[in-house]
Structure formats: structure tokens, C-alpha cells
Amino acid sequence: MKSINNFKSGEIVKIKCVECGSAFKHRISELGLFDGSEIEIIKNDNCCPIIIKIFNSKIALGQGEASKIYGEKI
């Protein structure tokens, strides 16, 4: 298990743990990102926000936020 900013583009990740503040956690869970959901890493340049695909939408997520979301490669 590692934080999602450590995955490479193209990898599919199953989210295991979300460790951020409750308001933010709530917000991303509305987008479909929560403990148990599956996402795809679209783009991770390690410099800028990472882009992930949740369901059928692309979401850009700051590195700081991404570092608090953990998951496992499927």
C-alpha cells in the first residue's frame, strides 16, 4: 500500500485508506474517491497535480492531497 502520488500513469488503483481532513475527505467521496473505490492514474508527473480517472471523469488532485490517499495496484 502506498499513497496514490507514487503510482505511475496508467495504473489502476484500489483505494484503501483516505487520511485527510474530514471536509476534504467528504468532498472527494462525493466524486467517487473513497475507501474501496477503484481509480485509474491518468497522469503523474511528480511535479504537478496528478490526474486520475474516477468513473468516467478526469479529476486533477494536488500532490499534497494525493499523498494522503493510499491504495494498492490491481
Partner: protein, 679 residues
Amino acid sequence: MAKKFNLVIGLTGNPNVGKSTLFNALTGARQHVGNWPGKTVEKKEGEFKFEKKKIKIVDLPGSYSLTAYTEEESITSDFVLEEKPDVIVQIIDAQNLARNLFMTIQLMELQRPLVVALNMVDLLENSGMSIDFKKLSKLLGLQVVVIDARNKKGIESLLAAINKAPKRYKESNLKLTYGVEMNEELLKMRKFIKQKEGISANKLNWLSLKIFEGDYRALQYLTKKAYYFELKEQLQKSTEHLQHIYNKDINTILSNARYGFIKGLEKEVVTGIVKKRKNFTDKFDSFVMNRFLGIPIFLLAMFLVFQATFKLSTPLIRLINSFFVQFSEFIGDLFLKYGLPKWIASLLTDGVIGGVGGILTFIPLIAILFLLIALMEDIGYMARVAYIMDRFMHKIGLHGKAIIPLILGFGCNVPGIMATRVLENKSDRLRVILISPFMSCGARLPVYALFTGIFFPTNQGWVIFSIYILGILMAIIVGLLFKKFLFEDLSSPFVIELPPYRYPTIKGILIHVWEKVWSFIKKAGTVILMFSVIVWALASFPVGVEYGSQNSFVGMVGQVISPIFEPLGFGNWQSAVAIIFGFVAKEVIVGTFGSLYGASDQAGFSSLSAALQGDFTPLSAYAFMVFVLLYVPCVAVLAIVKKETNSWRWPFFLALYTTIVAWIVAFVVYQGGLILGLV
């Protein structure tokens, strides 16, 4: 309140699903549609007639959920809960059914008549999938209608469904269960509240669920109650119990339950396999969001926007200008020929045509600028810019998303400031609000166009470009100072949806541009006309003085103030007067110069040009433009800052500090230029 309408509809849905497009299609209204999340920040009302019924429709800001988290999201839940619309219409993007259904479920939890409008089905089918909307309707137990908001298809059947909805509505028998333990705890909570307070079953269900989610509104309601302390205990007991069983926090349990249910639904109604090939959006993104190319492409795009604005508008401006010159001469001749009073001729030519005409000349400039900015919004590039600029923005202590309001500010600062609502955190928002007036708005352009046309005719484009850059630099510097001395660190999280690119709705954009231009013309016909007449009158009296001379009223006022601007290189009293009137709206500056110097003296506008050349040097003209760029934004901006910050403190502070900054920078430019030997 007397009920004026037969039916009140609330229009809701995720961001970017076509709410505003449908709203426009239904009401014939002309709301601008932008392709970035959070475009509609306030609810907008419209009305139309259907089968002799008068229907009111309220377009709510897009949100992903009904649990209030940001200001814009609480607008939606407030409306649904407080104003109790007869029907709620949720628009769903068929391409993203699962996420959209998350909100559907929450809407159903509110237990109001609900109609689902399935939009963008064609796009889904293009990707090789199909959706069984009848089955979806059956499974959800509510009416689902397929529409195509862009091409106005399916609107009739949607209206028919809306019409039927209140009568057809019955308590939903939705088979959504949150799990045995969760349901038990929910039941306990319901019993607890019911015991304390007699409220409707709807509200009871909603309240007991939302209090678990930690919803802001539910909390606000309950904290006022005498039994709140007891309730809190109950809540804590339940929460701990659940967390112990599931080993997850409450919101995760609920999300899992809701999405579990949705996944089941989706499997039933959506067929086809997602094609794995890259679509246009992906290809284009890999280019414009490239790590190295992203920022250069963005800068190039902005440069092209401004170049195109000037290049395309110049011939049109010349045309309009020559029209007003001839018109002014025609009036002058007419009055001379028929021996009509000279003062009326002066009022019309010096005052009205000089002021109003002077400003109308620059319409093409503003129209083209707005057109290009709207185009950037419409195709979906804005959200990408937030991504591209995030790293840079962080270096200057701002948030990636802050770039959106700042770019919009180039058109007009007012919508720019309203767009700061994309930022969740209040202090982040305030910081962007306070620096956004440095983004040189469309109304300041006529001033630059006038001055550069006279003093820098050969490299007009570059000089104006430098003013814009100076504005951006000042925003950065002041932003950094604020970061250091006024505000704590950033805290808004960076999350933004990147919508698929789409063709701009040409008609929509043209309507949007026309509205901006029309409001500009209206302003020219009202405020600017009024001030032109006031300036003219002040310049003509007391009786007997030479028009626009320093012995006139306006001359006296100007002379009192002008010493302040002496060190900046424009100590002439006309500039002082123009700067004061520019507070009303920055384009009034051009109108004031037009009225003061008189635009009619046979040679028309060239007299203004000659007069300005007498009072300014290229260096002092540049210092003047710098001052106009930076000093107190117009009244409309201060009013919106008051509204958005909910206090008079910030607009007052804004007015004061920008003017001080303007004076200092213009001083440095002018005195520095003198030292360098420029004139």
C-alpha cells in the same frame, strides 16, 4: 407570499452536465454557459409557460452532493429544503451515470417529486455504449427522460414529465439500504428526534441521516435545540459503535453503501464495453497539459488573445471614430446654418459626442476580448489552466484554481471576483479578491488605446501588453506581501474536474458577447452620458468662462487636486478631473477627456489628440496609464467586493491600498524615466 406560479421547478445536477443550457432552452434566457466546474455560482430564476401553466424555474449551482460543504453547495440544499419546489429536475450526464446517480440518491432522500433528465446520451452512444432509460426509471421509481439540451430535443417530453411529477409522486420504495447496523442506528436516531420534536417524516429521515454525515445545515438546525447535548451523546455512541463494526468512518460507510447500490444499478442499465482508445480530449490534453509545453502554450494562447483583440479591432475602431467625427461636424454645421444657440451645439458636440462617442468608439475592442475569453471558457480550457498553473501559483502563494477568476478579470473584474467562489477557503478567496483588480479589465483598454494611439503609434500593441504584464506583476508582488503579512497559509485543497472538450456553442457565445457589449452601450447611454453632461456643465460654468478653461468649475476642482499628481508627470488639472470621474467607471476617463478637450473643433478627434499632446509627454502618458491600471477599481467592483466579503472593511481597504500602490508605482515609473533621460 402570494403564489404567482402554478409550478416551481428546481434545476439541479453535477457541474457541467448542461444545466444552464437546458435553462436557456426552456426559458429562452441567455445565460452564459461555461465549460468549467462551478460556472453557475448563484441560483438564477426564469419563467415560461407550458399548457397554460405559469412555471418558475430556478437554475441551481452545480454540485456533486447535497451535503453542504461549500457556499455554492449550500445554495442548492437550502433551496430544496426551504423553498420546497414542486418538482426537482436533475440533469444527468449519461457518460458519467454512476457519479451523477450519487446525487440522485441524495435527492431522493429529500423525498420531493423528482424527474431525471438524461443528457448527452448521444455522446455515450458514440463511445459504443447504450443505456436503458426505461429500466433505470423503473429501478429508481421515478420518471427518466432522455433529452439533448444543446439541440433542444426531448424538451417537450421533459415538460410533460415535470407536469405529471407532483401528482404521480409517492413515497419512494427505493431499495437502498445502508447495511443492517447502519439502518439500526439511523432508526435509533429517528426515534430519538421524534420523541423530542414533532416534525414531518421527510424532515426526520433527512435530518437523522445528515446529522451522521456531519452536514452543516443539519448541525445548524440541531445545535439550536435544547436537546442537542443529549443528541450529541446519542450520535457519538452510534458513530463509535458503527466505526467499531465496520472499521471505517461513517462517511465511508455511507459512500460505500450508496456507490454499491449505484454500481448494481449501472450494471443493469448500461450495456457495452468502454473502448480503450484515446479520445480527442486525451490527445489534446497530453499536448496542452504537457509538463514542459503546458505553460508556454498557455502564455502563447493569452498572447494571441490580446494580439487578436487589437489587430482585429483597429480597423473597426477607425471606422466608428470617423463616423463620430463627421457626425459632430454635421451637428456643428447644422446649428451654424440655422443660427441655433451655440451652447446647445457645444453640449451636443463637446459634451455628448465627445464623451459618449469617445467611449462607443472602443466597442469592437471590448467585444473581441470578451468573445475570446468566452471561447476559452466554453471549449473547456479554463479548468486545464488551473492545473497547468498550479505549481507556479503556489510559488506566489496562490492556488491553481485562482487563475480562473484572474483570467476572467481581464474581461471584467466583477465576474472575476464572483468566480473566486471556486476556492473553498475564505481567506484564499479574499486574497484573490484583493489582487484581482490589478488584472486590467476591458474598461481600462479604451484609456490605453487612446493614449498609445497618440503617443506610441508605432508599437501600440507592445506598450499595452507591457501595461498588462505590469498589472500581473503587481498582483504577484502584492499577493506575496499579503501572504507574508496578512493571511495564513493556503488551505483550499486542489481538486478540480477536467471536463471533456467540446465545441463552443457559437450562438451562446455570441449572445454572451452581445450582452456584455449591450451593457457597455447602456452604460455609455446612461452613466457616461450623465457624467459627460455633468463634466460639460462644470466645464461651461460659471457663465462667461471659456469652455473647459481653468476658470470653469471643473477647472477649479481639478486645480485643487492636480498637485497630488504633479510628481507623477500629469499635473494638468484635466487629468485630475478624469481620474476622479474614472472612479465611476474607468471608461469615463476617456469620456471626460473627450468632453473637456472638446471633440468637435472642426478637426474632430485630432483636437483631442493635439490637446493631449500638449499636456502629456510619452513618459507621463505611460505613467498615467500605469496609474489608471492600478488605482481604485470602479464602483461596481467595490460593490461586488462588499457583497462577496459581506463587510465594508474590504472594499474600503481595497480602494485605499490600490490607490496608494498606483501612486507609488506611477511615481517610480515617471521619476525613474526622467533619471534615465526619457521624456
